[in-house]
Every structure is written in C-alpha cells, then in structure tokens.
C-alpha cells in the first residue's frame, strides 16, 4: 500500500495532450460515454420532480415542462419510510464505528509486528471478500436463527462489519505503514506500553484514514440489499429492501415517488464519496497491489 500511495502520485507530469487533435478525440470519447453515464442520472432527477400526470404520458417529454415537490413532501409524510430510514442510520453508523475499531487493531497488527502466519492471514482477509455472499447468507440465516439474533439489528451489523474488513484493514495497514517506526521506538524508550503507543501515537496519526474507513463501512451498510432483505424482520429492514417492499410489486409502481426516494437515499452516499475522493484510488487499488 505504501507502494500504492507513491504509485498513484503522478511521477513526472509534463502537460499531456498538447496536440489539439488528441484532445479533441478525448473530448469526443468523454461526450459519448458521458451520455451513457449521466443521462440516466438526469432522468432520475427529472422524474423525481415531474407531476404524476406528466410522468405517465407516452412518449415522455425529455425536458421537464412542469415541476413539483409533491413527491418529496409525500416522502416526508410516510411513517413507514421514516422507520426504514431510522433503521438504515442505526445499522450504518454502528457498523462504521465497529468496523473502524476492529479493522484498526487488525491493520496495526499486520503493519507493525512480524510473526508466524502473518502473511497467510493477510491473504485470507483479502480473499474473504471473494466468497459468494448469497451462499454465506443461506447458512448465516441458520446461524443467526439458532443464536436468536435473527430479525434484529445485530445480525446485520455483525455481517456488514465483517464484509468491510478486507477493504478497511488493507487501507489502514497502508496508513500505519507510513507511520515511522522510530516514533514508536522512541515512545517505548520513554516507557510507554504497546497499548499506549497504539492509542496515543499511531491512532491519532492515522485519524484521517480512520474517518475514511468509517465512511466506507457506512456506505457498505447503507447500500446493502440482500442481507437486509433476508436477515431482519420487516420493521427492522433498512431502506434498500424497504423501498422494494414499498414501491415494487404493486400493480402500477409510483415511479416519480420512487425516483424521489432514490434521490434522497443516494444523497448521504454521494456526500461521503465527495469527502472520500482523495482516498478512493489508494483504497480501491489497495486490494490489487501486494502489501
């Protein structure tokens, strides 16, 4: 990951694409892909503000002729959706905290100590994100059912925390790797215990990374569908399965309402990623570069 960080920094960056022709070709490619990538987003937003009677006409008008906030006010008045929102917030926030604590300790152990089994464990953590979750879910259902945790928040929080560990551990390991060992040796000479060194020196230095890991975990929990759909009771479900139950499966789906809800559900995640942008490349490629 140290390697990743330094690698993701441009090495010698002379201005590129000085030839106007290649610049024009690049803009053309961006325009075409941009149409595919961003037109659906535009449609989501437009539909969310379109009155029902205009949304359900054919062919649809690509440019909005009438705007309304009705769908959003309807959302705010819906108590069931508010319940799903509360569930989402509780599950995602607790997952974020738990994930930061567990992955920070684990990452610190991977980064600052050398012992037997370290390398194989690191690979196991990395590989665990590749196991099929639909299969794990089948037997996890039985595990949580037997332990009486089925139906509540706990089953979701424990599952999500575990699934965020590979990314969070590898990201934080990369950050601990950049904390100079001399700092810790100095602390040890001054008589600080290993716990003290970890909590008073390493963790504060890694604080931005801890925030980033927490946000990643938050987003993972916020976005999950299959576990939230299966492991909890209907009144404990988070927004993704909640929205499916609320809007789909009716004879005529209230598309503008659903687009408004989709818009609102996406906002926290978009905000998190705006903050995370600079960690993104390092965190994403962490799993792809050997440690």
């Amino acid at each position: 990951m140290t390697a990743t960080l330094s690698r993701s920094v441009p090495i010698t960056r002379a201005p590129r694409g000085r030839r106007p022709r290649s610049r024009a070709a690049a803009w053309a490619a961006v325009a075409v892909i941009g149409l595919f990538g961003l037109a659906p987003i535009y449609w989501l937003v437009v539909t969310a503000f379109t009155p029902d009677e205009r949304a359900f006409t054919f062919p649809p008008s690509l440019v909005p002729t009438e705007l309304t906030f009705d769908h959003f006010t309807k959302l705010a008045d819906n108590e069931k959706l508010f319940g799903y929102l509360v569930n989402s917030v509780v599950v995602s926030v607790v997952t974020a905290f738990l994930s930061v604590v567990v992955s920070a300790y684990m990452a610190y152990a991977f980064s600052k100590f050398r012992y037997r089994g370290r390398k194989s464990l690191m690979h196991l953590v990395l590989a665990s994100q590749l196991f099929p979750q639909a299969l794990l879910l089948v037997t996890l259902y039985a595990v949580f059912s037997a332990s009486g945790l089925l139906g509540g928040y706990t089953s979701l929080i424990l599952s999500f925390t575990t699934f965020t560990l590979p990314l969070c551990v590898w990201m934080l390991k990369g950050i601990f790797d950049t904390v100079p060992s001399t700092l810790m040796e100095a602390a040890a000479i001054d008589g600080a215990s290993r716990w003290r060194t970890l909590h008073r020196i390493a963790l504060p230095l890694a604080a931005p990374g801890l925030v980033a890991a927490g946000l990643f975990a938050f987003v993972r929990a916020w976005n999950d569908f299959i576990f939230a759909l299966t492991l909890t009771d209907p009144d404990r479900q988070t927004l993704p399965p909640g929205l499916v139950h609320t809007y789909l499966g009716e004879f005529q789906t209230a598309w503008p309402d659903l687009m408004a809800a989709s818009f609102v559900v996406s906002l926290p995640v978009i905000a998190a990623f705006m903050f995370l942008q600079r960690y993104l490349v390092g965190g994403l490629t962490a799993g792809a570069v050997k440690g």
Binding site: A29, P60, A109, L137, V138, S193, F225, Y247, V281, A288
Partner: protein, 280 residues
C-alpha cells in the same frame, strides 16, 4: 503493562475481534454450507438426512447447466463492456482533460445498487419508459428472455464502468511520460504507442481489474434480483439468484448449498488466478 507478552502475542491479541468475526460470519457458514450440500435439509423444519451425492446428481442432471450458462453470459458481458468503456474513458481523461470530470463519472458507481435497479426499471418500462419513448416502441425489455439478459448487462455495466475507469486511470498515471516521448521521437503514431507502450505497462493492473470485476459479477445478486428476479422463464437466473431462491423461496437447503458448492468450486479456480496475480 504488557511487557510479559511477546510482540507476536500482542499482535494476535489485537486480531482477536477481527478473527472472531471472520470465523463466525465467513469461515463457519462457508464450511457448514459445503457440508449441508450432502444432506436433505429444509430451511424451516428441524432435522436432516444424509443423502450423499444425490443433490449434486440432481443438479448436474438438470438445473446446473442453464444457470452456469446464464452466469457466464452475464459475467462476460458485464465485465467486458465496463472494461472497454472504462479503459476508453481513462485514456481520454489522461489526455489532459480537467480533473473534475473524473468525479462526475463516479455517480453511477456511487449510488446504491437498488437505486441503480429502480432507475433502469423505470428506463426500461414497457408503457412509459424513456427508452421506448426515444425509440417509439412499446417493447417489454425485461419481459422477454432475449432482451432481459441484455438489459441486465447494460444496467450492471452502467454501475461498474466508473470503477474500471478509476483503476485504469491509476495505472495510466504511473506510466513514465518519457516512454511516450521516446516512442514519439522514434516516429511511433498514437495507435502504435498505445499498443507498444501503454498496453504492456497496463497489463498487470488491467488484468487484476478485469479479474476482480469478473469475480464480483460471477456472484452478483442485487441488480438481477430487482430487475428480473431471475426471469423471465429463468433467462437471467444466475448462481446467486438460483441459490437464494432455492433456499429462501423453495426452503430447500440441501439443493441450495449443493449448487453453492459447485459455484464455489468455479470461484476457487478464479480466486487461484487472482491470488497468483497478486503475488506475481
């Protein structure tokens, strides 16, 4: 305070919470699933009976093959398309375009998977969908086996190409500029430089990005389940959907986990590739 512990013991102590979670949430369920494949067992009723290889024989005599075919078609389509689009976009953005563009293109990848599914359900809608509006048709894209798979692949492609772009752009930005300049001085054109300089430099990261996306698609669930539920007539039923439905709609744990076992076997092959690339 912890002077009596060795460094190794201290490190293991720090890993206890994480390892406990791994054992409970990943290792135990995985082993238990692989074992359950040899039993006849219900999701809701107690008790089970050992049936040997019966479940596997049932599956290999029928359901396994269409599911394998669907999974391969979906996985190949939903990996190659975002790879090509992401690569093209990464090359374009690396050619000196403003940096904020990268952030704009992340939106499809950042928004929750169910939102992606809702949005494309609405776009593909047979009666009022904007796609039919543009084409002047009333095609039920998700209702016909021939188009449902394409629609699901398009949706997943839309959600994945930004990730490909980020990975490949990271690779492009590590390419020493001098290589291109030297090739340019030697008279190599843009296509020649792409083939002889960019592609070899990008081989490692492009290979890993492709393989990871392949593995993720091989187990993808959300988009398919919300868009088609595996239908129509099983045309988009992949391993993830089939295992889920067998367990939670058919309550047949034995067949669900046996199918999962076969699925795992295929995944292990892919994972072996991935770990070898990691260590290469």
């Amino acid at each position: 305070m912890n002077r009596r512990l060795t460094d190794g013991q201290f490190a293991w102590l720090l890993m206890v919470p994480g390892l406990a979670l791994f054992l409970a949430i990943i290792a135990y369920p995985l082993v238990s699933a692989l074992v359950t494949g040899f039993f006849e067992q219900s999701l809701v009723l107690p008790g089970r009976a050992f049936v040997g290889l019966d479940n596997f024989a049932d599956l290999l005599g029928g359901d396994f093959w269409p599911v394998l075919r669907n999974t391969l078609v979906f996985t190949l389509g939903a990996t190659i398309a975002p790879f090509v689009i992401g690569y093209a976009l990464a090359l374009a953005l690396d050619a000196g375009l403003p940096g904020w563009l990268r952030g704009v293109f992340l939106f499809p990848w950042v928004i929750p998977g169910v939102v992606v599914s809702f949005l494309w359900l609405w776009i593909f809608n047979a009666n009022y969908g904007v796609l039919n509006g543009l084409l002047g048709t009333h095609v039920s894209w998700l209702g016909a086996p021939a188009t449902a798979m394409i629609a699901v692949i398009v949706t997943k492609t839309w959600a994945s190409f930004p990730w490909m772009m980020v990975m490949l752009l990271a690779g492009l930005q590590t390419m020493p500029k001098e290589l291109h300049e030297a090739a340019s001085v030697d008279g190599a054109g843009a296509i020649r430089r792409f083939r002889s300089v960019t592609v070899p430099h990008m081989r490692a990261i492009a290979g890993i990005a492709f393989l990871l996306e392949f593995i993720w698609n091989f187990q993808h669930f959300d988009t398919i389940y919300v868009l088609t539920g595996g239908g129509p007539a099983g045309a988009t039923k992949t391993f993830a959907v089939a295992v889920y439905d067998t367990a939670f709609k058919g309550f047949d744990l034995g067949h669900a986990t046996a199918l999962g076992g076969l699925w795992m076997l295929l995944l292990l092959v892919l994972m072996a590739f991935y770990l070898r690339k990691e260590n290469a």
